[in-house]
Amino acid sequence: MATDTNLLMGEVIEDPGVQYRQVEVLLANFLRALIQEQQLAESSFKKRDDA
């Protein structure tokens, strides 16, 4: 294999229970990104209808 296996095994987290202390921030960003995606999809559907 050309690349070392580290690149193929994904992110390995030893203690996943306490890995992130910023859950609220990530959750808020998740929500915002979903809203943005939804708005983008709606505007492209609108463009399609207009066309």
Binding site: M1, L7, E11, L27, F30
Partner: protein
């Protein structure tokens, strides 16, 4: 290594996997194919599948999926978008939805959405191993594995490549499973696609389905498409249906589509009835009234599906129904086309400005270049393979039909699963005469490089490149690349050396915070040298756009460095530049191979007298 919980009903410990797919149904179906392969090889996987509620029906009908977790975007986002709730209130709703997912760490979280939103979700959920896009502990974006880097840099970066997404997902997951769980259960040759892939529930739709007379051969037409720029005109579908039913009375056609396709289906029916009222009895139109179960059953009962770039082609692939894919608009069928053996793809053979700029506007001339006669001719050829064994060239077949000119504006491909000793995966073989463009050529090379980077197997240079497809324009473009690939290769080599120096310097420091002025200046100098080399890479690529993939990969790899200390960062950077250098070497080999392939070869002139002599030995033919 994953530590796992012991299951009571299986020998191997259970591995709890969460698969996140927040894209559309077509993506879900591709994921299910990859997961089926993984489940067959690693039966201990206990798969939970997270999908948007409106695209979750397919996963709900898969018996080996433990749980389907729906994300109801309408319920969660609707109130915010309409102004009924503010973001803080919506945050409470989404936290309640996510809380059960975060209760217990997952053994694996596989994010196959490849979107920004999904990266936050993957980042916040506890998991021992993560694949796909996620977030670092500081909240920054992170591609957790090599294939994710490739998807971000090459596929989402708009660079041509020819590895099908289903193959990428399958390889990505199976490689990770092999690393973490060891060798698979020996069931590698089991079929992934089958008519029984789903447990369909048809209680209410059975009467509709009964209309599909088992004595007829059925073809389903998926009339619409998510994007208008990827649709084929209704008039074309009507003409195609008329050709099929007019010349093949043993066939019937079912027209399928969503609620948004009703206008199209009404136009279809109106025109079809007006042109050929006697053939209406061979037609079923179920647009806007099909549940997933009825949709899948209709496709499963059909011999062929005709469709543009829709989820239906993935559904047919899963169910083993042959597909004739009318690939028009901004579509890269080599990545998302029908999967399996014997599917056909018909696409425009003439340049389309809107496609070249990947525009979603509707003025795609490629949509007009594919005529119903061309599609019918290809289907007629494909559905009679049993009689001609593909020994008759498609061009000759079209001449017999009197439609040779219709074939001139299209490219036709037939799908094939490669033998495992040829690397496996789906490939689309050209069926008619085709000239390779720079994009086609780049796609093959990038696919080769990816296999070198991420698979344990490397194909021979030039595999599947046909000599007759190489044309003067391509040769001219490749010649102009010879020098720049050499330059790029030298830059990556120099960058590797500089990064290694950075690693050595970093390792020699007692502290990264307190150091002598000389040490600091040396680090600064090495950092500046790397920045200069990166500028140089950008300049080379700007002059030679076919090399864009390397620039994108360099950016993505450097963004995804894992280390926190200078020494670690230097070591990783050196490894990344080595990876890029090796990629450019393969690119160079391809350029050389292709140019050599078209070089005229001196053929020994034949001596007619000697030939005659060999035919009639013993007779002296010379005067």
């Amino acid at each position: 290594m994953i530590s796992s919980t012991q299951s009571t009903d299986s020998v191997a410990p259970t591995i709890r996997c969460l698969v996140i797919q927040l894209a559309r149904l077509g993506d879900t179906l591709q994921c299910l194919m990859a997961l089926r392969a993984a489940k067959q090889l690693y039966p201990q996987l206990e798969i939970s599948f997270l999908a948007r509620e409106r695209f979750s029906a397919a996963a709900c009908r898969v018996p080996w999926i433990k749980a389907v977790i729906p994300l109801s975007t309408d319920a969660l986002l609707g109130p915010v978008l309409s102004g009924e709730k503010n973001e803080v209130e919506a945050l409470a709703d989404i936290a309640s939805w996510a809380a059960p997912l975060a209760k217990e760490p997952w053994d694996m979280i596989i994010n196959w959405s490849y979107s920004e939103a999904s990266s936050y979700l993957t980042g916040l959920l506890p998991g021992r191993v993560k694949l796909g896009y996620t977030r670092r502990s500081d909240g920054s974006f992170y591609g957790a594995d090599g294939w994710s880097h490739y998807i971000q840099a090459i596929i989402q970066g708009g660079v041509s490549q020819d590895i099908h997404l289903t193959d990428i997902l399958t390889t990505q997951l199976l490689t990770a499973l092999q690393i973490h769980l060891g060798e698979p259960f020996p069931n590698g040759n089991a079929q992934v696609t089958s008519k029984t892939f789903f447990n369909l529930i048809l209680s209410e739709s059975q009467s509709l389905l009964d209309q599909m007379d088992p004595l007829r051969k059925w073809i389903t037409i998926q009339i619409g498409c998510g994007q208008e720029s990827k649709t084929w005109d209704v008039k074309n579908w009507v003409k195609l249906a008329l050709w099929v039913l007019g010349r093949n009375p043993e066939h019937g056609i079912v027209v399928l589509g969503g609620k948004e396709d009703r206008v199209k289906s009404e136009a279809f029916l109106q025109e079809f009835s007006a042109t050929a009222p006697s053939l209406v009895s061979s037609l079923l139109v179920w647009v806007g009234e099909t549940s997933f179960d009825l949709w899948a059953s209709a496709i499963s009962k059909s011999q062929w599906l005709f469709s543009c770039d829709t989820a239906a082609i993935h559904l047919a692939s899963v169910l083993g129904t042959r597909v004739l894919n009318v690939s028009v608009g901004p579509v890269r069928f080599s990545e998302t086309g029908p999967y399996g053996n014997g599917h056909y793809v018909v696409t425009s053979g003439l340049a389309c400005e809107a496609c070249l700029s990947a525009s979603i506007q509707t003025q795609h001339t490629c949509r007009e270049n594919v005529s119903p006669e061309a599609v019918y001719g290809v289907w007629a050829y494909a559905s009679r393979e049993w009689s001609h064994f593909r020994q008759i060239p498609l061009e000759k077949y079209f001449s017999q039909l009197g439609w040779a000119r219709h074939l001139e504006s299209v490219l036709v491909f037939r799908s094939r699963i490669r033998n495992s000793h040829d690397g496996g995966g789906v490939v689309y073989d050209p069926v008619n005469k085709q000239e390779a463009s720079m994009r086609d050529w780049t796609a093959k090379v990038m696919g080769h490089i990816a296999r070198f980077w991420y698979c344990g197997w490397t194909p021979p240079v030039g595999q599947e490149l046909k000599r007759e497809s190489i044309n003067p324009l391509l040769v001219q473009q490749l010649r102009s690349l010879q020098e720049s690939t050499e330059v790029l290769s030298k830059i990556f080599l120099q960058a590797e050396k500089t990064a290694s120096q950075l690693n050595r310097k970093g390792s020699s420091l007692k502290s990264e915070n307190i150091m002598g002025v000389g040490d600091r200046e040396e680090l600064q100098h090495l950092g500046n040298a790397l920045a200069d080399l990166e500028d140089l890479i950008e300049r080379v690529v700007k002059t030679h756009p076919p090399l864009l993939g390397f620039f994108h990969m360099q950016k993505v790899l450097m963004h995804n460095l894992r280390g926190t200390h200078v020494a670690e960062l230097g070591k990783e950077s050196a490894s990344n530049y080595r990876q890029l250098y090796e990629g450019v070497q393969i690119y160079k080999d391809w350029v050389e191979f292709t140019l050599k392939l078209v070089k005229p070869v001196a053929v020994k002139p034949k001596n007619p007298l000697l030939e005659c002599h060999s035919k009639f030995p013993g007779k002296d033919l010379l005067p």
